[in-house]
Amino acid sequence: MSELKVQIKNLYKIFGKNPKKVLPQVKSGLGKPELLDQTGHVLGINNVSLDIPAKQIQVVMGLSGSGKSTLIRHINRLIEPTDGQILIDGDDVLTMSDKQLRDVRRKKTSMVFQKFGLLPHRKVMENVGYGLEVQGFKEEEIKQKAQHWIDRVGLTGYEDHYPGQLSGGMQQRVGLARALATDAEILLMDEAFSALDPLIRYDMQSILLELQDELHKTIIFITHDLDEALRLGDKIAILRDGAMIQEGTAPEIVLTPADDYIADFTKDINRGKVIRLRALAEAGTPYDGANIPAGTLLNDALDPLAQAPNQTLGVTEEDGQYLGTVSLTKVIGALAG
């Protein structure tokens, strides 16, 4: 896999009066409910390690209270961990001085929030330019860059509106433009689309994917919505009670859930829209018939397979590499779960 952008190593976060004191108990295996009962401390993050590759979308998924929003806030140190390490490009974020940390927040990371976090007293233009203004860019340059991103997210003509005058979806476009304007390589998105209604959410996901095709940022995306996770995530990590219970690609999580909890999550998912042929190809069987791209979704593969001789096709990657064969029966089996 490509280079690692962000590394989280054995991260612990305990909320309460004396987190350091109860840390050894947590490390020796005390669970979240027991910790609360016995010591009154709340376990936020429990020994999470995660390698986040550059230029991909890493989704962190979990229900409310699973610690996902706490986790993302550790990356730019909006929250101090109780124990562990966070590396961005190999630099330890936790040993940085205030000034170094501000530099990271200004230049390396930017963030989009569930509740938008826009500055209500500033117009759209001034909000989008905020990160640049903080860095001390010249006014003209700020305006020019801000305008570029306002246009890119489709808000042309709204430059002089206040956030309060915009709908939720439009406000989050402002949030996205503000995050993109600083040119940071890492984009932290904390339930960025969760406050939007489903149609707008789908729209925003499309905008994000479209931008990502071109920008190749390292995106860490927090969500509680499995559909969203599967649609956006190159990699998905699932948290429960502050601990990571599975990590992998979308098909891995759908096809081989680590436990009943995840299986429960994934059972209502439309697999045909998530799993690609790549995951089903049977290696080793040579095939001299027609081929189909490995990136094809199962739903889209049904028709061609039904019409193929023996209802079987060869699967090849974009670069021409041959993966193996796939049959209609196999695909239907995978769809049925």
Binding site: L78, P120, G164
Partner: protein
């Protein structure tokens, strides 16, 4: 049994000794440092006198124009502007112009002083719980202690005149601006602050770019209250030698002149209403984003 019905107080001798000791110490302090203190406040006195002279020396039509202009700039409302000018005309017609100018001078200077000290103090309180813990009870005392009580040490130190009057007004009028600055900053949305942090905002940038602007409605309410309270101190200030509308009111009290008292009292009310409406509408206009811009 007598013990239960009479509180066992310290003896009269001990008490008077204690009081005397306090008085003597303060008098000693006053003798030793009174002059330095007066020198310290000298620039303030000179500014106050200069401002008063300026108001008195300016032809009345100019003042009317300025009042109308400021009211318009502040409120952008014809009603408030016309009301302000009419009120000043009535004051002039009823021969209270000079006293009104004197009152205007001391209220303006007192308000400026309160803002200059009060807003930084409020900011300090908002940033440190310890500062808040120390300053809050002091403000409580300043607001509730009868004005006459702090007039005593002020007069002992600085004598009778404009500066002690100004101090008396400020002691009474400064608490709201401090409290509301503190409150306003503490009430700024945590999500917005977190977003500012996430973009690497320095504490200074956060204070002036986010916290203070978003606290402005409360800060303005504080300024408004400070002006109102300063105006209500006009009569008491006149007892220690501050010129203005308070002096005739004081004379009216001691001689039972109902009409004189009413006229000057109403002039104070008129000033209060003008200040209040103009500053409030100005504050609201600054918050255009709250009700959909423009």
């Amino acid at each position: 049994m007598e013990f239960l019905y009479e509180f066992p107080s310290l003896g009269r001798k001990t008490l008077s000794g204690m009081k005397q000791a306090v008085d003597e110490t303060f008098k000693g302090f006053s003798r030793a440092y009174g002059e330095q203190l007066e020198n310290f406040f000298d620039p303030l006195l000179r500014f106050l006198i200069w401002f008063e002279k300026l108001l008195e020396a300016t032809p009345w039509p100019v003042i009317l124009l300025v009042v109308g202009g400021l009211a318009w700039l502040g409120s952008r409302s014809w009603k408030i502007t016309a009301g302000s000018v009419l009120a000043f005309i009535a004051i002039g017609v009823l021969d209270m112009w000079e006293d009104t100018m004197a009152t205007l001078a001391i209220i303006s200077v007192a308000t400026l002083l309160c803002i200059a000290i009060g807003i930084p103090l409020g900011i300090l309180m908002s940033r440190s719980d310890r500062a808040q813990g120390i300053i809050t009870p002091i403000l409580d005392v300043m607001q509730t202690i009868p004005s006459f009580v702090y007039l005593i040490p002020v007069v002992m130190l600085l004598g009778i005149g404009k500066v002690p009057g100004l101090l008396a007004v400020c002691i009474y009028a400064i608490p709201p601006i401090v409290r509301l600055t503190n409150l306003g900053i503490r009430l700024v949305d945590k999500d917005v602050l977190e977003a500012a942090d996430a973009f690497g905002t320095s504490p200074w940038q956060k204070l002036w770019g986010v916290q203070v602007p978003l606290a402005l409605p409360n800060i303005f309410a504080g300024i408004n209250q400070t002006i109102m309270m300063a105006l209500s101190m006009v009569v008491i200030a006149s007892m220690i030698g501050v010129k203005g509308l308070g002096v005739p009111v004081l004379r009216a009290i001691s001689n039972q002149y109902l009409a004189l008292g009413l006229m000057n009292g109403l002039a104070i009310v008129a000033l209060a209403i003008i200040f209040d409406r103009v500053s409030q509408t100005y504050g609201k206009r600054l918050q255009a984003y709250r009700n959909g811009g423009k």
